[in-house]
């Protein structure tokens, strides 16, 4: 199973609003993470560079040195995952342009649930990358071809694109496991997730149509509304 079973993960929160910072601290600590707070860019950078954190939550608008500069400096020294937070809404596309190097981007205002999802997604991706995998458990109907890369059913290729193939393979490896959109963006599309981004949904829609076209019935990609996607096996 693919779960974020990392209760001891250490998180550094760099946020200058004391009220928001204490909320985040309280919530993340309640979820079993070990949390450090920093209210200022330079201090945050120093601590992120010295200590061994699993994740850094970084505000963009900070007193002194900006979050983007901190990110740039930090990237020269460490590869620790970073989630940027900012009130610069509505301009996700532009933010995505200059936040190169961040693992995700969380526009303010956000709910603690949303924060939790994003944090889990990044930690889960890191954990996933560290794990060794057994060869994929074969689907009762489909044959996977890593080199092509595509799947076939009774001699018919589904004509999946490489991204669609990676996405589908991830689902098939972990049936009945809820994949949040934030995690799928992290793991397969390698970019930050934003509210209006429909890239992932389109890939899923394509996969469904292509699999239906070759007559695949052994599994279904289900939408869990507001959360993500789930692959379920049909009992045949």
């Amino acid at each position: 199973m693919l779960t974020a079973n990392l209760p001891a993960a250490r998180i550094l929160v760099v946020e200058d609003d004391p009220l928001l910072a204490s909320h985040m601290h309280q919530h993340l600590q309640g979820s079993g993470y070990s949390v450090c707070l920093s209210e200022e860019g330079c201090d945050g950078l120093q601590r992120a560079a010295q200590d061994d954190f699993d994740l850094v939550l970084l505000d963009i608008l900070l007193p002194g040195i900006s979050g983007l500069e901190v990110l740039q400096n930090l990237r020269e020294r460490r590869g620790v995952p970073v989630i940027l937070m900012s009130a610069l809404g509505g301009e996700q596309d532009r933010i995505a342009g200059f936040s190169q190097g961040a693992d995700d981007y969380l526009p303010k205002p956000f709910s603690m649930v949303e924060l939790q999802v994003r944090v889990e997604a990044v930690l889960r991706r890191v954990a996933y990358e560290r794990r060794e995998f057994a060869p994929p458990q074969l689907d009762p109907q489909l044959q996977f071809d890593d080199l092509r890369p595509d799947v076939q059913l009774a001699g018919h290729w589904a004509e999946l694109t490489p991204t669609e193939f990676r996405l589908f393979e991830l689902f098939v490896r972990h049936p009945d496991s809820l994949m949040s959109k934030a995690f799928l963006y992290q793991q397969v599309l390698r970019r930050a997730y934003s509210r209006h981004d429909r890239g992932l949904d389109m890939h899923i829609s394509h996969i469904r149509r292509k699999l239906a076209a070759i007559g695949y019935t052994a599994g279904r990609l289900e939408t869990v509304w507001g959360k993500g996607y789930l692959f379920t096996r049909e009992s045949v």
Binding site: G89, G90, R195, H196, G199, D201, R208, R209, W225
Partner: protein, 446 residues
Amino acid sequence: MPGRHSLFWKLTLLVLGFCLLIIWVSWSWGGRIEFRGYLLTQAARQQLLGYAAEAEQAWRSGGAQGVEQWRAQLQQRESSWLAVIGRDLRALGTRALSLDESQRLTSMREVDWPMSKRASGLPIIALPFPQQPQDGQLVMELPERFLPEGFTWHAQLLVHGLLPCALTLLLCALLYRLLITPLQHLRRQANALRGEQLDARTATHISARHDELGELGRAFDHMAERLQGMLGLQRQLLRDLSHELRTPLSRLRVASESDLDATQLRARLEREVSSMQQLVDDTLELIWLGTERPQPPLEPINLASLWALLVEDASFESRWPEQQFRCLLPAECCVRGHLNGLAQALENGLRNAIRHSPPGGVISLDGHLHNGVWQFWLDDQGGGVATAQLETMFLPFTRLSAARPDGDGFGLGLAIARGAVQMQGGAMWAENTAQGLRLNFQLESV
């Protein structure tokens, strides 16, 4: 290569014409003035012709003796050489011409010829007898005092100095009229803009020009229009936004003063905060679309796939069964657009259609390909809107019915949808059908 209407050609013609004019004027006019400068004055001519008449008189009355006598008299008044000769070029007086004198007769001039000292010595003038020219003529060297001044320095100054100066002045005036006057007009308009008179526009005689200045005028007008539109939009949005925020704020205020329990208060808080966040997000999105005019990279988008995922969301949100959404487009219908923008536009259109549909109504997506452009439309069965509202419904904060159910959006959806479609180089408009409203989209095919 400058265009057909470029100022380059006007300037070329003007300068070329000017150069030719200067050359022609100073050549022909200068030549004429120089020629006149070498002619004898009227008084000198009269004087010389008077001598000829005297000579004829002397010849008639005194014959050779008379001529000799008159010659001696005249020689006292005029020191220059003279002779009175007959048609056969022999002297009419008693003294025959010396060889040197005879030679002089070969270079005689008429009295109205130009005179110049450039030849050797003073010119020799032939003055035929006024009454009987066949009888003889007076030949005399032009007296020094009658010699014309020729091409004087002030004539030269006039022809080679003042005249080109005057013509250059004319050229400059023309150039100024051609180039600087429109620029001055533009400067005045720019100053008006600076003074926040945003309705300042270039005069039609400038903006209708086909050359570079016309282009400048049109660019200026375009800029002023953008500024005016943008500022108007911003002011309007700010006004509407503050107005819209009052509703959830006043509800929150009432809730905070009421004796609701913690759970109810939390639910109320959650709902109002979400609606305020939605409002702020949508307004920012609209401002971003309207002012920054982003140009995202376009990609091929399969409309059937996009429709499938939008329907999935919409049917979850509205609890409509998926059978009430129909896609009549062919499966291979593919447009060139920006996925997130198009999804947002269609989603907002779909929400609008659901909101105005009767229970059990059907919403369908159909379209056709024409000249490489896909025109596709969303049809609902909600009865449509008044003709006057077909265009105003795309303005921000426009609601078609004042009595709207709670939390039913802020009238930003269609404005954002149109902005998003235009961002992809497409168009969006509405029309009424027999059953309801049709939202048309137009995007380039792949």
